[in-house]
């Protein structure tokens, strides 16, 4: 058995909650600073970007909308990887990661739906259309909410972990559908213009603000996620301590 403990890489040693708390506590200030800085730079660049000759000023919604949609999908992918961790290695930290990513992902999805709707009103003339991209993102939002409801419904977090992980992985089929919905179906939503095989088709003056915003969003996500994970770990510890305290009181009364 000593072999396995020696061969553990630093990634496995991260999985120790105490070590995770110490390390994340050290990283968090830098991460948060980087997130705020890149957000400020990104927002400045977004407003300095030239207006689109067709869309006018509404093109700036894109700098908020597109990274939010990317993050909504990335957050679900993070959850799916964490769920795999829950099912394969049965590590509680993976469950903590999957659970705490839920509200953040739901928020990003909501943000992308909301900004897309605000953009669609002047551009498409409607708040909402049932095209493939919009529908599949809406389904993603429903799945986030459903998983949150599932976590709420279970009183014991350890028992909710594996069923929720299974459901997260099953729901992952939706992510490629979202990504390729604009290619598979003839939709109103414009096809991919940044992440594609033959390079981005978007003009550099708009691409760079978009990329900076994407980096800022990613940093914000990881900052919030780490903070939420720390909170969840502390919350579970407090719960366990409370339960132990209640048990010892009960034991003391019965003797």
């Amino acid at each position: 058995m000593s072999d396995t403990t020696i061969s553990q890489g630093w990634f496995t040693s991260l999985a120790n909650p105490t070590r995770f708390l110490a390390l994340s506590g050290r990283i968090l200030p830098y991460l948060a600073t980087a997130a705020v800085l890149s957000l400020v730079v990104g927002l400045y660049m977004s407003f300095a970007a030239p207006e689109d000759y067709q869309q006018g000023i509404t093109v700036r919604i894109m700098f908020i909308h597109v990274p939010a949609a990317w993050l909504a999908m990335m957050c679900y992918s993070v959850m799916a990887v964490a769920s795999l961790g829950t099912l394969v290695w049965r590590h509680p930290l993976a469950d903590v990661a999957a659970k705490t990513a839920l509200p953040i992902g739901a928020a990003f999805t909501f943000l992308s739906l909301l900004t897309g709707s605000l953009w669609g009103r002047p551009m498409w003339g409607t708040w909402w259309v049932w095209d493939a991209r919009l529908t599949s993102v809406f389904v993603l939002f429903l799945m986030y909410l459903g998983l949150m409801a599932l976590h709420k419904a279970m009183d014991d977090p350890a028992r909710a972990a594996r069923p929720a992980a299974v459901l997260t992985l099953v729901g992952f089929v939706n992510i490629p559908i979202i990504k390729f919905s604009v290619d598979w179906w003839n939709t109103l939503h414009q096809p991919a213009s940044v992440i594609r095989m033959d390079g981005p088709t978007i003009h550099p003056t708009m691409l760079y603000p978009l990329l900076v915003m994407a980096i800022a969003y990613t940093l914000i996500f990881f900052t919030l996620h780490l903070m939420a994970m720390r909170n969840e770990i502390w919350r579970r510890r407090v719960q366990t301590m409370r339960r132990q305290a209640a048990q010892s009181i009960g034991g003391g009364a019965s003797t």
Binding site: P163, V166, L167, V170, N174
Partner: protein, 220 residues
């Protein structure tokens, strides 16, 4: 496995009649629609396939929470979960199949009657029956995942529907579009029907495995 299939079918058809309940719910949902939108026969004929599909989807979601709940209550679920992995997956598959035979198949058989009430043409009714025949098993198989996830909850019925509905949306989309393609001329019937069949096969492979994993997770 055949014994399990027969046992589940017997339970569904005899005690309490869960199978008949689903069909009655289907009838009730479809019967409510004309009251909501008015008895315009042309309009009903046009939206008929969609109404039948939505009714069938809701009716098959209705009974899903009972899929493992009854076994959990009498303790036989623990016996099932204790089997080795492959047998457990097969068991879940057979249970989902039995669930479909008891609740999904009656819906398919009831569809022509409701198509008549909806003033649908014979082709449209046939297309709806065919797509339902392929689509409802998919709902049962993917629904098994939701049922397995919610099995530890005391009242998981509503939660199962909430969790499964997003996953069932592709089935609904392609089922309805195939049914419409059969009626409206220029659209080809086969492509959406093939995709629907592909989804059904995919869910038949994925659902039991995922449901078995969730059952294992819930038990320990």
């Amino acid at each position: 496995m055949m014994a399990l299939l027969r046992r589940d079918l017997a339970i569904a058809t005899r005690s309490g009649g869960a199978a008949m309940l689903g069909v009655l719910f289907f009838l009730a949902v479809v019967a409510v629609i004309p009251f909501g939108i008015g008895p315009d026969l042309n309009l009903l004929a046009r939206i008929g396939p969609a109404i039948l599909w939505i009714g069938a989807l809701l009716a098959s979601l209705l009974g899903l929470d009972r899929l493992f709940q009854a076994d959990r209550e009498d303790g036989s679920l623990d016996m099932l979960v204790m089997q080795d992995w492959v047998t457990l997956v097969l068991t879940v598959f057979v249970k989902s199949l039995a669930h479909w035979l008891a609740t999904g198949l009656p819906l398919v058989l009831a569809a022509p009657l409701l198509g008549l009430l909806m003033n649908m043409s014979a082709t449209a009714t046939g297309a709806v029956m065919l797509t339902l025949l392929v689509g409802t098993p998919a709902i049962s198989f993917i629904g098994a995942v939701g049922a397995a996830v919610a099995v530890v909850l005391p009242r998981g019925g509503l939660l199962v529907s909430i969790l499964i509905l997003p996953l069932a949306i592709p089935i609904l989309i392609f089922g309805v579009s195939a049914a419409y393609a059969a009626v409206t001329d220029p659209d080809p019937f086969l492509p959406p029907f093939m995709i629907l069949s592909a989804i059904a096969l995919f869910f038949a492979a994925l659902g039991p495995v995922a449901a078995a994993a969730a059952l294992r997770g819930a038990s320990d």
